[in-house]
């Protein structure tokens, strides 16, 4: 029994010892290993890292590149060489390698892959902002990312040619790649218009890039009023119009800029109108007043520019009219309302009535509008009870009638 026990213990120890010896690395990675090849390569070319030393299938090459880590097995069992798969060989940049057997690092180092010679056919470019003001201050920027055919950024100091075309005038600058990119500022132009930009690096060309140069802030402007006649007939239209509004370089400001027109009459601020510019000119329309008035008109673009102020005189349109009270005193007729050429006043002019008592205190007011040169008021009993004077006013002309 004891004997058997001993046997099994010995057997167990033996097995354990065997198990141990299998995991040691001594018999698989002998002697020093040294890299025999260059450590600088060109992307896309076949890359093989060859080492001196005893071949072993336990050897692995651990490679850390920018995109991650991977392991490579030896190419064959006769040599210690590792060929990089395309996914690694095409990526430019630095990589670290570790020759590992078991858990032991036998040698380590780094290699560099340079970008390939033939570049990508198109040059990757970014431009922004896409629109700038012609104010002498704004600028846009072109960023170019020259790359080789595998998408690796080209090396520093690769020249990039940037050409701009504006109003048929071409300019050229050269910048160098620095830290993966080449960039240049695109200065604004004094005139508004389209700025065309193209970049190239060797045989790599960009697409056509455009930056729109917009007119900058509006400057002060003039306004004028256009009207068919000067009479306050409440019927015709006054058109207010700005001069072409421009920025300081004479560029017509952007269409759709809002212009506010403001009218003051003899009583103070009265009317307000807005217009949007088209080709720099904004318009607004206002009705003639209904009675003689003096307007002072000005315009402004909020916070940016203002116009001069112009005066407009309106003469009275109504020359005379007749009043007729019906026999029962309940209907007041205003007839023969004549205009400035003794023609009947156009329809729609306001006629206002005020009924006063004996003390001159207003008892009742009403409004009506002219139609075919006439207007009338139907008076209620209550409104005429204490009436002593009916006062009628049309287009600034006032007449009174005593019932």
């Amino acid at each position: 029994m004891i004997n058997r026990c001993w046997h099994s213990i010995v057997l167990l120890c033996f097995l354990l010892a065997c198990g141990e010896s299998k995991v040691t690395t001594e018999d698989i990675a002998e002697g020093p290993y040294a890299l025999q090849t260059e450590v600088t390569f060109i992307a896309g070319a076949p890359i093989t890292l060859e080492f001196s030393g005893t071949p072993s299938d336990q050897l692995v090459l651990l490679v850390d590149n920018a995109w991650g880590s991977t392991l490579l097995a030896p190419d064959d069992s006769k040599s210690v060489s590792f060929s990089l798969p395309a996914a690694l060989a095409q990526k430019a940049g630095l990589s670290n390698w570790y020759l590992v057997a078991g858990q032991t690092v036998l040698d380590s180092g780094e290699y560099t892959i340079l970008p390939a010679k033939p570049p990508m056919p198109t040059l990757e470019t970014y431009i922004g902002p896409p629109s700038i003001f012609a104010n002498g201050l704004d600028q846009s920027m072109l960023v170019a990312l020259p790359q080789d055919q595998y998408g690796n950024a080209l090396q520093d100091s690769t020249p990039v040619r940037i050409r701009t075309l504006f109003r048929n005038q071409q300019e050229e600058t050269r910048v160098n790649v620095n830290r993966l990119i080449a960039y240049d500022y695109i200065a604004t132009r004094p005139q508004a218009g389209e700025l065309f930009i193209a970049a190239s690096a060797d045989t790599q060309v960009s697409k056509e890039l455009t930056v729109r140069v917009l007119a900058s802030l509006p400057t002060d402007f003039e306004i004028e009023a256009i009207r068919e006649h000067t009479y306050a007939d409440g019927n015709q239209i006054v058109t207010l119009r700005t001069s072409p509004i421009q920025d300081s370089n004479g560029n017509s400001i952007a269409d759709g800029t809002l212009v506010n027109f403001q009218v003051k009459n003899i009583l103070g601020p009265a009317l307000h109108a807005q217009g949007q510019t088209v080709n720099g000119v904004a318009r607004a329309n206002l009705l003639h007043p209904q009675q003689a008035d003096t307007w002072e008109v000005s315009a402004y673009i909020s916070g940016l520019a203002k116009s001069n102020s112009i005066g407009l005189e309106f003469e009275p349109a109504v020359a005379d009219f007749s009043l007729l009270l019906s026999g029962d005193g309940r209907e007041l007729q205003i007839t023969s309302i004549q205009s400035y050429m003794e023609q009947l006043i156009p329809d729609g002019l306001t006629v206002s009535l005020t009924i006063l008592d004996a003390m001159g205190k207003p008892l009742y007011t009403d409004q009506s509008r002219t139609f075919a040169g006439k207007a009338s008021f139907d008076l209620t009993l209550e409104s005429i009870e204490d009436a002593s004077v009916y006062r009628i006013s049309v287009g600034g002309v006032t007449k009174e009638i005593i019932p």
């Binding site: 692995v60 651990l62 850390d64 590149n65 920018a66 995109w67 991650g68 880590s69 991977t70 392991l71 097995a73 798969p85 996914a87 690694l88 990526k91 430019a92 940049g93 630095l94 990589s95 670290n96 570790y98 590992v100 858990q103 690092v105 780094e110 970014y126 431009i127 922004g128 902002p129 896409p130 600028q139 846009s140 920027m141 960023v143 990312l145 998408g151 690796n152 950024a153 830290r179 993966l180 990119i181 960039y183 500022y185």
Partner: protein, 505 residues
């Protein structure tokens, strides 16, 4: 015979009726629930953020060399978050050989390069577990329209472990530099180019600091009634103050406290917790007690993908306390050697090694140690620590030999007996074999050795406890019962026999 088969038909009919009904109801229910489920509408908004919670590398920006448009603070925050996420999804991709999340943080062309790398690893059954712990991005360029950034990420400190067919081939640190182009595409900063460039050699880490350990007489401290729970809702400064006064009067000049990792919010330590920690140091300062702060209590993951989180935790705690006059030093982890078996020795040691290096940069002025559970374990990482700590609960007569071996291996590094003690438990589980007298006798023997060697020591512990949480020694009642009686004050607060022994000057 006929009636029997009739009954059989009846039964069959009834069952099939029930089954058909069941199937119909199930069908309707399935259809109904299908129509009521769908993608969460908020996913349309492309909100990100869930990635953030497990990856917290240190990011130190350098904005001084920048060309182009001046960087806005808001944009920098967004850029940093997306850049960090890009690294995180990259490491997840390499770990799982999965393309999840890469679309959000890499442009189409860059993604293609990553996919090639993943395909290579999938074919060869390679997986990579990696993380980056520190990024030092220097902003090189920010385009005028705010849509393109070039940065150079200097000395990215990382760690990766590479597996083939599931077995680890190699693991180790990486120190790499990258030049990166990022583009702003539909609200995400995506990596367009990632080029590894030669990295500048790092200046030598902080020189070793000066410190003195004047034969500390210390104690491992938890308040009465709050075993393994100094902080949190039950935090009671009055109780701590009373205990500290008792300790100071009894001749102690140092306490060792424990900062629980999860209870302290892991990577994002709340200000309340830091406030309590500062208050403990304040109370210790009032009694002239020096505090040895043990980090990462109850931490046991050590997974590479968890490292950034733990380091942010440590950095926050260190920054909160490093200027406090009562701070004696940092104990990185309590008894990490007990995790060797379950978590992998290399993994634990590498985590500690990197942690110690980082600790030296965060706080160059206080000594570091690691609370190894035995004199034999304490030789691990002896170069990384400023003094070597070990715990001893063995027989007093074995201590001298075991101590001598460690002393010899330790070179000229100071040694600290960071935990020692004996339970006075006497009950069913140890056949009533313990007693307060035996505890006192044990401590007396150890005390005489400590005095002889002029060894700094920390007794375990001040109080006996009514309860011991399961997470300390597990659920087994004989272990818990034993663990409850290590104090020199009983649960009522009365001095036990050992009190006199350890307090004599």
């Amino acid at each position: 015979m006929i009636s029997r088969s009739k009954n059989l038909y009846r039964a069959l009919l009834l069952t099939s009726f029930l089954l058909v009904n069941g199937a119909i109801i199930y069908g309707i229910a399935a259809g109904w629930s299908f129509l009521n489920t769908g993608a969460d509408r908020s996913t349309m908004l492309h909100l990100s953020g869930t990635l953030e919670e497990s990856y917290f590398p240190e990011v130190n920006w350098d904005l001084d060399q920048q060309e182009g448009r001046p960087m806005e603070l808001q944009t920098l925050g967004e850029l940093e978050q997306d850049y960090r996420n890009a690294w995180y999804v990259r490491s997840l991709g390499l770990l799982n050989n999965d393309r999840f999340g890469l679309d959000d943080y890499f442009t189409t062309d860059a993604r293609e390069k990553l996919f090639q790398q993943l395909d290579l690893n999938i074919a060869a059954q390679i997986t990579v577990k990696s993380t980056t712990l520190q990024h030092n991005p220097q902003l090189d360029f920010y385009s005028l329209d705010g849509k393109l950034v070039v940065l150079t990420d200097h000395n990215v400190q990382g760690y990766r472990q590479i597996f083939r067919d599931g077995s680890s081939i190699h693991e180790g640190r990486t120190q790499e530099s990258f030049r990166v182009i990022l583009l702003l595409e539909d609200g995400f900063w995506r990596i367009r180019q990632l080029v590894k460039i030669p990295h500048e050699s790092h200046p030598d880490p902080t020189p070793s600091r000066e410190f003195s350990l004047e034969s500390n007489k210390g104690i491992n401290y938890y308040p009465k009634g709050q075993p393994w729970g100094l902080f949190g809702e039950d935090f009671d400064p009055i109780r701590i103050e009373t205990d500290f006064r008792t300790l100071a009067e009894a001749g102690f000049n140092s306490v060792r406290i424990f900062v629980p990792y999860e209870d302290f919010g892991n990577a994002q330590v709340p200000e309340v917790a830091l406030g309590q920690l500062r208050e403990v140091l304040e109370l210790a300062q009032n009694q002239q007690l020096q505090v040895l702060v043990t980090l990462f209590d109850f931490y046991g993951n050590y997974d590479i993908l968890d490292w950034t989180r733990t380091y942010r935790h440590a950095q926050t705690v260190v920054n909160a306390l490093k200027d406090h006059p009562a701070l004696l030093g940092w104990d990185l982890k309590n008894e990490p050697d007990l995790d060797f078996e379950s978590r992998g020795k290399d993994n634990v040691l590498n985590w500690l090694r990197l942690l110690s290096e980082n600790m030296r940069t965060w706080d160059p002025n206080h000594p570091l140690t690691i609370g190894w559970s035995s004199p034999e374990a304490a030789i691990h990482l002896k170069e990384e620590v400023d003094f070597i700590s070990f715990h001893y609960y063995g027989e007093p007569e074995d201590l001298e030999a075991r101590y001598r071996d460690l002393r010899k291996a330790a070179g000229n590094k100071p040694l600290v007996l960071e935990e020692f003690g004996k339970s006075s438990y006497s009950g069913f589980w140890n056949v009533f074999s313990g007693s307060e007298e035996k505890q006192a006798a044990y401590l007396e023997e150890l005390q005489s050795f400590i005095k002889e060697e002029e060894l700094s020591s920390y007794l375990w512990t001040l109080h006996d406890f009514d309860q011991v949480p399961n997470r300390v020694v597990g659920r087994l009642p004989w272990r818990k019962a034993y663990q409850r009686h290590f104090g020199i004050l009983d649960t009522e607060g009365n001095p036990k026999a050992a009190f006199e022994i350890v307090t004599e000057k």
